[in-house]
């Protein structure tokens, strides 16, 4: 605003900070935030990726939660399973987050883009001190056996989690478009497995984590709970061999993941599969007295 701004309190002394003062304040801010150095700025193109969009959605939800008592009321109602504010037509917050919750509550699969924070996430969000998204590190499809030729592999590096954070929930998210017309009246079962052990000449040992059923016409984000697996990987990083996903018809026939409508890493950036984890801090950072 500057000195001429009428809104500035007259007793406030304004001056340009000296370089060393600015550096000190920057250091102090990084110290408060527990960051080793200044985070990299958003680079062009990345913003449109699914994980950053999802995280931005959560960020907006968090920020608006702090600003809006109405939203707090609405969320509390939702958490209690009553969804008081939503059901009784409680006014939506300015950013429409209440409306979004309603959408994701009513229809687990939505056509919304970016991937919306669901009610499920809102609950985690209230408790979480940190949320982190992980990009899929698999760049080339593996050569699976004929039996698993339609399987897709995903890997996430969980070694980058900041010190002092404990996983409270973790999800694998994958987007589904309309399935191929061949599966018009089919129910498609999507399963996610944890890779337990890999072998050079045969398929890996897998452990079934979660299964979802969908109609061919369903469009939206599928969320798989991988909390236990993530905790295991955080404690034992050497056991993090990744996830495998497969799609089957109702009669157990394995089908091409793309035909099922599932968007892989060759799909649009905004629909790329990713992993998100919610954390609770085990240490508390205090502001230093200045």
């Amino acid at each position: 605003g500057g000195l001429g701004d009428n809104h500035v309190h007259s007793s406030f002394i304004y001056r340009r900070l000296r370089n060393h003062e600015r550096r000190e304040i920057q250091r102090e801010i990084l110290s408060i935030l527990g960051l080793p150095h200044r985070p990299r700025p958003f680079s062009p193109g990345k913003q449109a990726s699914s994980a950053p969009l999802f995280m931005l959605d959560l960020y907006n939800a968090m920020t608006n939660e702090e600003d809006s008592e109405e939203l707090e009321y609405s969320l509390k109602g939702s958490m209690a399973g009553e969804s008081r504010g939503i059901r009784k037509g409680y006014p939506a917050s300015p950013n429409g987050y209440s409306r979004r919750i309603q959408l994701s509550r009513m229809t687990p699969l939505t056509t919304q883009n970016p991937p919306l924070a669901s009610l499920h996430d809102t609950n985690f969000l209230n408790d979480a001190d940190m949320v982190m998204s992980f990009v899929n590190l698999v760049e080339r499809d593996k050569d699976f056996s004929h039996h698993r030729r339609h399987y897709k592999e995903f890997r996430f590096d969980l070694t980058q989690i900041p010190h002092g954070e404990a996983v409270t929930a973790a999800e694998f998210r994958i987007y589904k478009d309309r399935s191929n017309s061949r599966f018009e009246n089919e129910t498609i079962q999507i399963s996610i497995y944890q890779i337990i052990k890999e072998y050079p000449n045969r398929d890996a040992d897998l452990f079934l984590l979660d299964t979802r059923k969908a109609e061919a016409s369903d469009v939206g984000w599928f969320v798989f709970d991988i909390t236990v697996t993530s905790n295991h990987w955080v404690i034992n990083p050497q056991n993090n061999l990744g996830l495998q996903l497969c799609a089957e018809t109702g009669d157990g026939r394995s089908i091409n993941v793309k035909s099922a409508g599932l968007v892989g890493r060759h799909g649009p950036q905004s629909k790329q599969p990713f992993m998100v984890a919610f954390f609770k801090a085990s240490e508390v950072l205090f502001r230093s007295v200045r």
């Binding site: 408060i32 935030l33 985070p39 990299r40 950053p52 702090e66 979480a128 001190d129 940190m130 982190m132």
Partner: protein
């Protein structure tokens, strides 16, 4: 009476007046009654010498108003029923009387909010971190 050296002396009004008389620049004399040890010390306001030039109407309280001052770190509001403005004035006066023993008035946060920070890490993962109790939304003054 707020002076620890004299706390065992008579706690009557006259001793309080003796203490107050050590502040010639302050026209009013307050009798200070120390009834308990601890951070919050009760005092009784008495307006003496109203025409001496000291603006006694600064304190929005009747004669004999039971006020408190903070002996250790000052942080008001002390309690919900106490007037923070009065406390600030009383605290200032007591501090002026005994600058080495009684701190200046200082308000405390009554409602703290979190801030959220969103950033990329070095592996292109995105981190959303919530820092609790970082923003003072209201304090003892308001």
């Amino acid at each position: 009476a707020a002076n620890n050296k004299r706390k065992n002396q008579n706690r009557n009004k006259s001793s309080g007046q003796q203490e107050s008389s050590r502040m010639p620049s302050v026209g009013a004399r307050n009798s200070i009654k120390k009834e308990q040890e601890g951070l919050q010390q009760p005092i009784t306001i008495a307006y003496v010498g109203k025409n001496s030039g000291w603006p006694s109407d600064w304190i929005i309280a009747p004669e004999g108003y039971a006020a408190f001052y903070c002996d250790g770190e000052c942080s008001f509001p002390l309690n919900a029923h106490m007037n923070a403005t009065n406390h600030a004035i009383v605290q200032t006066l007591v501090h002026l009387m005994f600058p080495d023993h009684v701190p200046k008035p200082c308000c405390a946060p009554t409602k703290l909010n979190a801030i959220s920070v969103l950033y990329f890490d070095d592996s292109s993962n995105v981190i959303l971190k919530k820092y609790r109790n970082m923003v003072v939304r209201s304090c003892g003054c308001h």
